[in-house]
């Protein structure tokens, strides 16, 4: 929050955030909204663990349990992990490449509001006769039979938020290609920028199949079509394919930015450049490519036949190679470095063994013949929590501590940060390690309870106690955030002292135009290079001149809101409600009207003049 915002009242600040197109403020919006949904999804996880702590428990009913597991998965993937990753991409990537903003600031804001309204819509299902209950994969054979409106909320909510993600991905791609500072060649880009780039490409190609799948399900459930109705010639396997053609790249969409964050942390706190930079880039691209060739490994037991299973098994195992390259590069980066054990570094060091464990079980699951045994057991649950929590969530915690000063201008408390880490680390392994064995012993996933005397009691109890530790960790971190925000001790450009990339050359938080003069980039780790030569900051690549900035706009909010309204109409269409069609039309009119307004109203943005920039300098007492 810049000094600029603090002078304003609450209403003005709220309006500022509702209309902002500044990537740094949008990052904060993503962080808040994603953090909120993370807590919601976390509470759902806690309810799951309470229910399963003891056999024959009746904490929740079977139906409610199905709703909770569905919403836990959906919320965590689409509404927590993705937006939190997007928060860091928005906050950091433009700074890392030396840009003043993203390529399409308006679209950036629109992407956020679409995600936000989609997420709110999905969660409103709790208040309208029931949440979705067909699992986060929402297989058509289950989803078509689901009573009530839960699955409809799922379909429409994800459609809206998916649209936001898609346009966000295009935005990042164009930004990285067109808006790099002078000298910032592709092979000088920080690894987090590289992973943002590959992730965005994956989003571009992975989200359309999801869009199509959701459209088909929407048509089937709300408008009487027969894609998944077998008696009319339909086929439910179509949904499985479309979902996983999206769903598998989706897990790489989550993990690649996590790799990017850790690839920033290791060199920073080992005070040593990243080992094997070009092989890291290569591995990232290769993982992105292979990510599209392996989706059917989620469907080995569907009965695709031995040929298809064999092809997808081999392709899946091939992903172990580039991932292995990365693991070794991180280890060699630490090797011989002067390691500083900061909170982000704690997470990064813990990430390697945790994620590796998830990777190893991944290769086990990729063996198609063996998968018949593991499928739909707790072994799978353990596997994907090891990669997603051990990889993505660790990275989100690490990134939160690492970039907090850059986003808010104040450091999170390191001691509390380390307490958060140890609580979470212990809790995580306690909850999920034992689940490997539960799976191998035969406990199926997605069951709402189990009987005593089957050997599941102790292990489930241990697992549930682990969840308590993780909850405590999150509470400690929230306390940390509140305390540091209240104290609000301002920090300088490079609070960690070891910043290597361009974002650490800027004030914390950066001014709204980021760079007064675009910096000249002379190599990888641009800021580190300058520091090593004894310079205070970057050499400018251009004379001080007017800066062109985009105008704020309320239209992104309106466009997203229109779809939110239309979704309610579509949802109740299957009940033959008289008002449903008018509501669809009104919603679409709001959306298209706002788009039309955007189209016909010229928006040339405004210029910050040279003189104002120089005054800024005098105010702050000249900081380069």
């Amino acid at each position: 929050m810049s000094t600029y915002a603090q002078k304003k009242g609450f209403g003005a600040t709220l309006w500022d955030y509702l209309t902002t197109v500044d990537h740094k403020k949008i990052a904060i919006l993503y962080l808040i909204a994603g953090g909120f949904f993370f807590v919601v999804g976390g509470l759902e996880a806690v309810f799951i663990r309470i229910q399963l702590a003891v056999p024959n428990n009746d904490f929740v009913s079977a139906g409610l349990f199905n709703e909770i597991i569905t919403m836990h998965g959906t919320t965590m993937i689409f509404l927590a992990a993705m937006p939190l990753v997007f928060a860091f991409m928005n906050a950091v990537m433009p700074l890392q490449i030396g840009a003043r903003d993203v390529a399409f600031p308006f679209v950036n804001a629109l992407g956020f509001w679409l995600f936000f309204f989609g997420g709110v819509f999905l969660n409103l299902s709790w208040f309208f006769d029931g949440a979705p209950d067909a699992g986060w994969t929402s297989y058509a054979s289950l989803a078509m039979a689901s009573k009530g409106h839960g699955v409809d909320f799922y379909v429409l909510g994800l459609q809206i938020s998916g649209l936001g993600t898609l346009i966000g991905g295009i935005n990042f791609l164009v930004t990285i290609i067109n808006m790099r500072a002078p000298g910032m060649t592709y092979m000088r880009m920080p690894l987090f920028t590289w992973t943002t780039f590959v992730t965005s490409a994956l989003i571009l190609f992975a989200f359309p199949p999801l869009t199509v799948g959701l459209v088909l399900m929407m048509f089937d459930r709300m408008f009487g079509s027969n894609f998944f109705v077998t008696t009319m010639g339909g086929n439910t396997v179509i949904w499985e394919h479309l979902f996983w053609i999206f769903g598998h790249p989706e897990v790489y969409i989550l993990i690649l930015p996590a790799f990017g964050i850790f690839s920033e942390i290791f060199p920073m706190f080992s005070r040593k450049r990243l080992f094997g930079y070009s092989s890291m880039v290569f591995a990232t691209v290769l993982i992105g490519f292979l990510g599209f060739m392996v989706w059917a490994h989620h469907m080995f037991t569907t009965g695709l036949g031995p040929v298809a299973n064999a092809i997808f098994a081999v392709a899946t195992m091939a992903i172990g190679v580039p991932t292995g390259i990365k693991i070794f590069n991180w280890l060699f980066t630490i090797w011989g470095g002067s390691v500083k054990f900061t909170t982000p570094m704690h997470w990064a060091l813990a990430f390697i063994p945790s994620f590796l464990a998830g990777g190893v079980t991944g290769v086990m699951l990729a063996a198609a013949a063996a998968d018949y045994q593991y499928h739909d057991t707790y072994f799978v649950v353990a596997h994907f929590h090891y990669v997603i929590v051990g990889g993505v969530v660790f990275a989100i915690f690490a990134g939160t501590h690492l970039y907090w000063p850059k986003m808010f201008g104040t450091m999170l408390n390191e001691t509390l940060g380390k307490i958060t880490f140890w609580l979470f680390f212990i809790g995580f392994h306690m909850t999920f390690f034992i689940q490997h064995f539960l799976g191998l012993w035969g406990m199926p996933r997605r069951v709402f309870t189990y009987l005593p005397g089957q050997g599941f009691e102790t292990s489930n109890l241990i697992s549930s106690i682990g969840a308590v530790f993780m909850s405590l960790a999150v509470i400690v971190m929230l306390y940390n955030i509140i305390m540091t925000s209240v104290k609000n001790v301002k920090v300088g450009n490079d609070p960690w002292g070891d910043g290597r990339t361009l974002e650490w050359a800027l004030p914390s938080p950066p001014p709204f135009y980021n760079f007064k003069q675009l910096p000249l980039v002379r190599g990888l780790d641009a800021y580190w290079l300058e520091k090593m030569e004894g310079k205070k900051g970057m050499t400018p690549a251009e004379p001080l001149g007017d800066i062109h900035m985009p105008n704020s706009s309320f239209l992104p909010f309106v466009i997203a809101f229109g779809l939110f309204v239309a979704a309610f109409g579509a949802l109740f269409n299957m009940d033959d409600k008289a008002w449903s069609v008018p509501v669809i039309i009104i919603g679409l009119l709001i959306t298209f009207g706002a788009m039309f307004l955007r189209s016909v109203k010229d928006d040339h943005g405004f210029h910050i003049h040279k003189e104002e920039l120089m005054e800024d300098d005098n105010d702050k007492g000249v900081k380069a």
Partner: protein, 209 residues
């Protein structure tokens, strides 16, 4: 160079669609969007191919009895020609001739509208003559979804280009609106690309059996 600046024949750049940073971003972003659309339509094609001729019982019409060669041919010619007229429009855009550009764009719109009208007639023909509807079979659902998605793209293109023409009719070309016309024409060509595959895969292959 500011986007809103008034330009003359002399100062009009060779590539007005890419002569400011905003324009370059728009150009690239739109191409990427088309990359995503490629996957979107491929998924719809895949679904159609999986569900082609999948009907609940033998009374339902199948692809080989449904389609009509002359009708498809006329529709194809209309859309292909509209692609050429939008090429002409961009030719005049590059030559800084707003009047002629608008003329060719209006021609494009007319051809597009004719195509859409033909499609509406075609659909109602199938519904009334063959009882081949959106809800009658999985084949019907897949057919109307694929071809209808394309039709919706045509309709959106018509609205978009109309808005552009009306908005910019009195102010001529500048570097702010030239990229908008350019990406709209890219979109229109892309619709045509999709149609080439629709008439081949859905109609022609449907008639072959």
């Amino acid at each position: 160079m500011h986007a809103e600046e008034k330009l003359t024949h002399e100062t009009w750049p060779a590539e007005p669609e890419k002569s400011t940073l905003e324009a370059k971003n728009k150009f690239l972003g739109f191409w990427f969007f088309l990359g995503g659309e490629t996957v979107l339509f491929a998924s719809l094609f895949a679904t159609y191919l999986a569900l082609k001729d999948k009907v609940p019982d033998t009374t339902h019409t199948l692809a080989k009895d449904l389609f009509d060669l002359p009708l498809t041919f006329v529709a194809t010619m209309l859309l292909l020609t509209s692609s050429l007229t939008s090429v002409y429009a961009m030719y005049h855009m590059k030559n800084f001739n707003a009047k002629k550009m608008n003329l060719w764009l209006i021609l494009t719109l007319l051809l597009g509208a004719a195509f859409l009208a033909l499609e509406v007639y075609e659909f109602s023909h199938y519904v009334h003559e063959y009882h081949h509807t959106f809800t009658s079979s999985a084949f019907g659902s897949a057919f109307y979804t694929l071809v209808g998605f394309h039709g919706a793209h045509v309709a959106f293109g018509l609205l978009w280009i109309t808005t552009l023409i009306v908005r910019n009719y009195n102010r001529g070309l500048d570097l702010y609106n030239a990229p908008k016309f350019y990406v709209a024409s890219l979109y229109w060509h892309f619709i045509d690309v999709v149609w080439v595959f629709i008439f081949t895969v859905v109609y022609l292959m449907g008639m072959v059996g």
